[in-house]
């Protein structure tokens, strides 16, 4: 059973080697003449101001948190979808209830404005 994963392991090895090879080639073949201006971050030709690690919108965090919840739902759905035909109607009903419960959560998120990225409407704008 595990020997079916052998081609995948070989492919992973080839992919890593290929990626490193491409990168090393450009290091070896290309010139290397650094100076301070060249190594500065690009800010449309102006002198860079401050650090890039600045404050950014909380909405990105909210989306990530909401993603975890619904991704777990999707992961639960897969093994169920493979085998639910072998069981009685109870399996179907319980999955419908489970998904609808999470759907209520999605409606709550939307009503709260947690997924609103418009300027005036959002939860934190």
């Amino acid at each position: 059973m595990f020997e079916n994963y052998l081609p995948i392991a070989i492919l992973a090895g080839v992919a890593v080697v290929l990626a490193i090879l491409l990168m090393t080639l450009s290091r070896v073949l290309g010139p290397y003449r650094p100076n301070k201006t060249k190594l500065d971050p690009y800010e449309s030709g102006m002198d860079p101001v401050g650090d890039a690690a600045n404050r950014y919108s909380i909405s990105f965090y909210l989306v990530a948190i909401a993603f975890i919840v619904f991704d777990v739902e999707v992961v639960f759905v897969y093994p169920w979808a493979v085998s639910y035909l072998d069981f009685g109607p109870g399996t179907l009903v319980s999955m419908i209830i489970f998904i609808l419960e999470l759907y209520v959560g999605l409606i709550y998120l939307i009503k709260k404005g947690a997924l609103d990225w418009d300027l005036k409407k959002g939860m934190f704008n």
Binding site: I8, A19, L25
Partner: protein, 336 residues
């Protein structure tokens, strides 16, 4: 699960070689199709019809200076462009190209593809973050939020295909479509999957992570030389891989329409040639669709992207999945 044979390794080698070439060809095709749509010539100087243009591009990229920003995180900056290339290459292992023509058949193939696909977001986000530049960081953040948002409808669209296949192996997914393609049985999920495939590949109209009029180059602003080239090649490999997945999940893989009803028995070689040709033709069509859309539809605004993902596609895919689950259940138990 079929055991791994010598054929598997030959198929793996050819598939890998063809995927690398197809990325170069996709770059060429994109420039020619773009030129055609915009009523100009496109690259036509290097080799016949400009066919050697991608080779010239790669040589040029290799000979350029590799700049790492002084304030950036150097190790992560170097690792980040490898990740999208890695994830794009890893997908060919489980895709069946013909009857018996696949590298390996694992009973968790669909989960494997989803897992590998979702790793791709790390490359772009880490690349944007490690550059320590404002444009890059914003591009990386946008990419992270967008790609995880569209993973949910994509996962549910794929799950509704699993209902018909009853297995997570790609071989079973394709064989379940021998008569009825999933696009006919399940058209809503097909549309959702195609839209999310565009978003996952960061292609227009979802190319917000590198929207050049607001973010310069987005996550690859600070990348040069082959490091940029790897992001670039990976984007086109993801176009090809996305086309392969659309074909496999919804357009019958290597099967002709309703092949189970009318296709006569054939010799092994003839069948293999037919299967691979059908698969490649479908893949090329969807790769062309990716390019066609890019040069036709303008870019969304970011709030529109998020609204489409969370408030439209996700509810539609949830109810599509539930509805199909109920229909398939009653069909299986009371009619068939």
């Amino acid at each position: 699960m079929e055991p791994v044979t010598t054929t598997s390794y030959i198929v793996l080698g050819i598939a890998l070689f063809m995927l690398l070439n197809s990325a170069a060809l996709a770059v060429y095709a994109e420039r020619r199709v773009a030129a055609f749509i915009q009523n100009r010539w496109g690259p036509n100087r290097v080799g016949p019809y400009g066919l050697f243009q991608p080779i010239a591009d790669v040589v040029k990229l290799l000979l350029k200076e590799d700049v790492t920003p002084a304030r950036g995180f150097k190790t992560i900056h170097a690792i980040a462009p490898m990740i999208p290339v890695f994830t794009a290459l890893m997908t060919v292992a489980v895709i069946p190209f013909g009857d018996g023509l696949y590298a390996t058949d694992i009973n968790s193939g669909v989960l494997y593809i989803l897992a590998i696909n979702s790793l791709g977001v790390y490359g772009i986000t880490l690349g944007g973050w490690a550059s320590n530049s404002k444009y890059s960081l914003l591009g990386g953040l946008r990419a992270a939020a967008q790609m995880i948002s569209y993973e949910l409808p994509m996962g549910l669209a794929v799950a509704s295909c699993i209902l018909f296949a009853g297995s997570l192996s790609f071989i079973d997914v394709v064989n379940s479509q021998e008569v009825w393609w999933n696009v006919i049985r399940n058209p809503i999920a097909a549309v959702i999957f195609i839209v999310t495939a565009f978003a996952e590949a960061n292609r227009t109209p979802f190319d917000l992570p590198e929207a050049e009029h607001e973010l310069v180059g987005g996550y690859h602003t600070e990348y040069s030389s082959m490091k940029f080239g790897m992001f670039f090649l990976a984007e086109y490999m993801h176009v090809v891989v996305g086309s392969m997945l659309i074909t496999t999940f919804f357009f019958g893989g290597y099967h002709l329409p309703f092949a189970g009803l009318w296709l006569p028995e054939m010799g092994v070689t003839a069948k293999a040639i037919l299967d691979v040709s059908v698969f490649v033709l479908k893949t090329v069509f969807f790769a062309f669709l990716f390019i066609w859309v890019r040069w036709t539809i303008p870019r969304f605004k970011y709030n529109q992207v998020m609204k489409l993902g969370w408030k439209r596609l996700l509810p539609i895919s949830i109810f599509n999945f539930l509805g199909l689950a109920v229909i398939v259940y009653f069909w299986h138990h009371y009619i068939a």
